[in-house]
Each structure stands twice: as C-alpha cells, then as structure tokens.
Symmetry: C2
Subunit: 384 residues, 2 copies
C-alpha cells in the first residue's frame, strides 16, 4: 500500500476505524478516499498543510461542509487487490459494532465504488468482507471529483511550464466549460459544461498503462515510479529521430519545426545497428514519456478546440506531479494551440474518481458524517 | 534497392538510362520516380497493368500528357543512400553524353529532390555524382503528387473496411477540400483546398518510424516488412489491456466501449509477472501496429473535423497496402467520426513526395520529355 499525497502515517494504535470510504478501482491502481473517524490530533499535525489548503465550508452545500474533516487518500496496485481488502478489513471493519453512530453508514455494508474494478471485484469484496460495492459511473465520479476540487480547494489547479509552477485562481462562476483529461491506464476526455452536464467526448488507449507496460518490456524497471525516475535522467535524442537528423542538422522552418523537434518517436534505432541492450534505459524512459505526454497533450488540445474550450485540466495517476510529464503536456498544448490554450494540472490529480464516488453517498449519510466530523474536528482543515 | 509497386525488373542490358528522375529522401526511405527513356517493350509487358490504370492524357496540361510514358518507382533505405547513388550512377549517368536529347535535361546535373535528406545529402550527391539536388519543399511535393494522382489515375483512391477494398470514383471538380495524411517516419497532415492552396495543419511524431523503431527494439525483426508480416499473425489482446480486462469481462456500454475495445495499449504487462521474452513477437507487432494506426486515424479525424473536411486520404510508406493497417485506420476514423468521415487510401501511397518533386520540373523540360516519351511509346499506359 502506498499513501497518496496526504501522508497519513496512520498507526494501528492511533487509528480508530474509518467512518466513510470510497474506491476507484482502475486497470492499474485502486484509489481510496476516506475519513478516519477518530484520528488523534498528533496524526493531524503530521499531515497538516498550510491553512490556505483548507476546504472552504459552504453552509448551503452538504458536500462542502462535510469536508471540514480530514480526507485521506491511499492507493494500491489493482493486481494486489488483496492488500486493499486487508486494509479495509483491519481499518474499517474491526471497529464496527463498537460504534453505533458509524454503523448507520458503514454498517450497511455498502461501499461506493467506481472504475471497471467495481464490477470485476464485486464478488471478491462480497466474499472476503461481506461488503457490497455500490457501483457509481466512472465519468460521473471523475467530473464530480474535479468540480468539487476546483470549486472548493484553494490552489487546487496550477499551470506548469519551463519548470515553473503557477497556481491559478479559478473564478467559480467562470469554471465551465472545460475539458477534463483523466490519464489513468487509458485516457478519458470529458467536456464539462456544468455541475450536471458533461460528456465523454474522446479518449486514447495511449496512456499511463502504455508508459508503464511498454517501459516494463523495454527496461528492467520494477515500478512505474522507478521508470519515471529514470526518465528524469534520460536524453530522448538518443532514441527519437529529430527533424535535424533528417535535415542534416537544419530546421524545417517553413512549417515551424526546429531541428530539435521530434520527427519520429523511437525512430533512431531504425538506422542504427544496435539492439535493445545497447540503449540506456534512461533514454528509452524519456522518449516514452515524451511520446505519450505529447500525444495526450495534442489529442486533448484538438478536442478542446473542437468544443471551444480554453481550459484543459489534466488529472489521473499518470502525472504524479512529475515535472517533466507536466512540462511536456504543457508544451504540447501550447505548441499545437499556438499559445491559445493552456494545460492545467490538479494537485489531487489521481483521486478525482475516488473523490467523486465518495461524494455520491446519499446526502443524509454525508450530513450524518459531517455532523460527526464537525464535532470531532471543528477547526481542522483539508491538508495535502 | 527495392522496387515500388511498379515491379520494373530492369536488367542492365535492357535499360537504356534514365531520362528524368526525382527523389524524396525521408528519414527512413528514399523514394525515386523516374522515366526510363528506352525501356524495351518486353519490360513494359512485364509491368503492364490493366488499361483502366492508364493516365488520361489531357491536352491542356503538360504534366498530364507527359505521363503517357511509363513512370517507374523505386525505394531505398535512407541509411543505404550509397545504393541509391550507385543506382543513379549506373542507370542515369552512364548514358549521358551518348544521348544529346537527354543531356538537355539531365545534362544540367540537377535533380529535383524533396524531403529532409535533400538537405542532408546535398554534399554527398555533389561529391559522388557531380549532381546538384534542387530542393523542393516537402509539403508542396506531397500535395502536388496527391492532386496529380487523384485527378489523373483511374482508381487511385479506395476505401478499405472489413477486408473489402472499394475503389472510389472521385469527381475532379469535387476533390477539394480534403485532408492529406502522409505517414512516413513521422506524420504530416495537410489541409488541401485547391491546386495551390494548402497548409500543414498538424502531424504527429508517432508514425512509421515509431512502429519500426519500437518494433525493432521489442522483437528481433530484421526489417519493417518482416514486422508487418509478423503483426498479421499476432493477437493484440495478449498485450493490450482491454475494457473487459478492467470490467471483469463486461462492456462499458454507457460510453460506447465494448469489452474488446483497447483501454490501454500495452497495458497488460503491467499486472503480469513476465518479461519481454515471455511475449510472442507476433502479438507485440500487432499491438504496436494497432496502437499507431489507431492513433493516427484519431488525430487525422480530429483535424478533418476541425476544418470540416469529409475526405481523408492516407499516404506514405507506412501503409504499404497492408490490409490490417488500413482496416485499423478506417475503423478509427469511422469510430471517432461516428461514421461521418471516411478514410481513403492511395495506390501510390509511398510516392506522393517523389512524384510531386518530379512534377516540379520546369514545364518546358517536362514538355521536352513528354515529346520524347510520346514518340517512343505512343500507346503505352501507366501501369501498376
């Protein structure tokens, strides 16, 4: 199990069960969002961020005031779904029955879940935990999660270009329409027009799963993060065929391509008498990351253009706050739009779906929980 | 050296030099178009196709009547540029001087050439052959070549879907506007509005070079064609993460994805404890071909949509008349356009640029040559 951005180093003795929890079970990762019901103050201190990060409580919306408590985020590999089940078993269920208030929610033995795995693993959860996964549509959840974060969390969105991160102040009244690009194993692109109106308009199968799947085959990396780390030290020019390689070092300026632009991703091995082992894993990782990030940026831009959407928000666990990934996506959007469109990123990028599933609980359940939360942590804030 | 579709098995003793020649020197391949000035009848017979394929002679256009002779097409690997130079040296230059009429054209020691290699190898051609490469812009050439073929060659364009090839009758007056997608090492997408008005509106670095470069690294294939051949026997479901893999065998019908749709290209190795060697080269080749063809089809469609272009013509040497490649591109265009747009292919797909360069010779030169051609082969037709 790996924790998300909220580094809640929960210790058994301090944890007191989970009052509410939702899952997003994707092709590669299971994302979990939950409220711990009685984390001690000391844990809160450990994870406490700047007060700027706090969720604004809005009296006219249960969903918002709800989150005056602390949200915790975790992820597991989907192939290790048993770890997730064990975690839920020990953290959530061991306290059930001892706490009647919680039983009103978790006692229903229902967990909101989205992603394809909510279907695939339904029987397993039922069998192992006696829990029914209440399936919530993935696109609904992604949009709900993104809207919530963009409206509620200060400095949730930012741009990233040439190594500079700049937080964007989104006017809540001017949020829509936008394009949401969720980069998981595959990529979904959703035109979001209002809280309730949205449509998956496009997508691509060339996503995070492609990066990690191809990367695993091409290098000896043992994890996605190791591959990302490698890419940081690589040089894609060793693998990619550049415009300059074709033009003898010159630009193709008439159509706006500099000599260092990539003419053909992975094109260099064509004319070299080398085998896979002769190339450095770092360089391969870099080319791969650049190919995929650039491709997603381009397809996203073309879809934004199609619907006249100026803002594109990129989420999903592919990005992981990785500077080079964001930079490449930003450059792609900037290049193809000739500066017209901007790529924006989300601090809670990987948890849109899980958060959306979480927010899909019935309002009275959320209100119940909010009530408990507010009693327990009246001044606590959302932390990252 | 490999011949193109015109299988002109030219033998030294029968060839009589080359009266006119143009080159398109790309990142992977050198494409050559030329008129042999005195091929014997027996060679013509070998390559003669149906009379339906003949180029219509048009009295008001030198370019058209010109091609009453036979055009020959050849390709070489760019990394073996010396082979190309040797060929030109033996076929073209050995006869110079002995034939005064030809000297008026080739005697200028100038060859029209396009593609980045026209810059890169300019010095080499000068040094080895005393020939100056007269550089012609690549986009100009692609468009000129495509327009020429579409207007002049009967049954040049066709659709390909579910294994069925259907020739399209293009009304010359209704040809424009269209999107030309040239898939070489990289991909160029050009909006063509008239004979002279066009613009490169997009492109992608994920092209033929990516297929062959990644394929070379992932398999032990020795050639592009071998990799293509392998892909024919492969099963991409072994490598790609399908919607059904995520959803436990179910469709994600709400957003129109069947269980067999690819959710994540190359996503399966993520959750499998296997190494590259444990996968069959056939399956890898198939996934790769599908990923790249599908991606190009999608980006092409998005660009066609952007400019309201109903017709998309795909050219470039990536396709090579390969049924699965065309089928995937067609399916992608059909899927993303919901049946609105159609992918069309060109029989002389790989030679658009070279043909365009060829057609860029000064008209009086072409007229001279046409004159010789018509005298030599008054009834000959263009053959494929």
């Amino acid at each position: 199990m790996e924790s998300g951005r909220v580094e809640a180093k929960m210790e058994k003795k301090e944890s007191g069960g989970v009052s509410h929890l939702a899952l997003d079970i994707g092709g590669s990762l299971i994302k979990m969002v939950y409220f711990p019901s009685n984390s001690s103050r000391s844990i809160d201190d450990q994870v406490n961020g700047s007060s700027k990060d706090g969720l604004a409580a809005s009296s006219d919306d249960h969903h918002y005031s709800l989150l005056n408590g602390r949200l915790h985020f975790f992820k597991f590999e989907t192939s290790k779904v048993d770890d997730c089940i064990d975690f839920i078993s020990s953290e959530l269920l061991q306290h059930r029955g001892a706490r009647d208030n919680e039983a009103s929610i978790s006692g229903k033995n229902i967990i909101k879940a989205t992603g394809g795995g909510a279907f695939k693993f339904a029987d397993l959860f039922k069998e192992r935990l006696g829990i029914t996964l209440d399936k919530v549509d993935e696109m609904d959840c992604l949009v709900r999660g993104a809207n919530f974060l963009l409206k509620t969390v200060h400095h949730e969105a930012f741009t990233y270009m040439n190594g500079e991160k700049e937080y964007a102040q989104i006017d809540h009244k001017d949020l829509y329409p936008y394009l949401l690009v969720n980069i998981g194993s595959g990529v979904s692109m959703i035109k979001v027009e209002s809280d309730s109106k949205f449509e998956r308009v496009s997508g691509t199968s060339v996503g995070g799963g492609t990066f990690w799947g191809l990367g695993k085959l091409l290098t000896k990396c043992k994890s996605f993060d190791e591959l990302l780390e490698l890419s940081h030290r690589g040089n894609n020019r060793v693998i990619d065929m550049l415009v300059g390689d074709i033009f003898g070092g010159l630009d193709y300026s008439k159509i706006g391509l500099t000599s260092t632009a990539i003419a053909s991703s992975f094109g260099k091995p064509i004319s070299e008498n080398k085998e896979l082992e002769d190339y450095r894993a770092e360089d391969i990782a870099r080319s791969l990351l650049r190919m995929i990030s650039n491709n997603i940026g381009q397809i996203a831009y073309l879809n934004a253009l199609r619907f006249g959407l100026k803002r594109i928000f990129f989420g999903g666990f592919f990005i992981r706050g990785h500077s080079y990934t964001m930079d490449t996506i930003s450059v792609a959007v900037n290049f193809w739009s000739k500066g017209d469109a901007k790529a924006m990123f989300l601090r809670h990028e990987g948890f849109l779906g899980a958060l959306g599933a979480f927010l899909s609980y019935e309002e009275h359940d959320l209100a119940d929980m909010a009530h408990h939360m507010l009693q327990e942590f009246p001044q606590s804030s959302y932390s990252t």
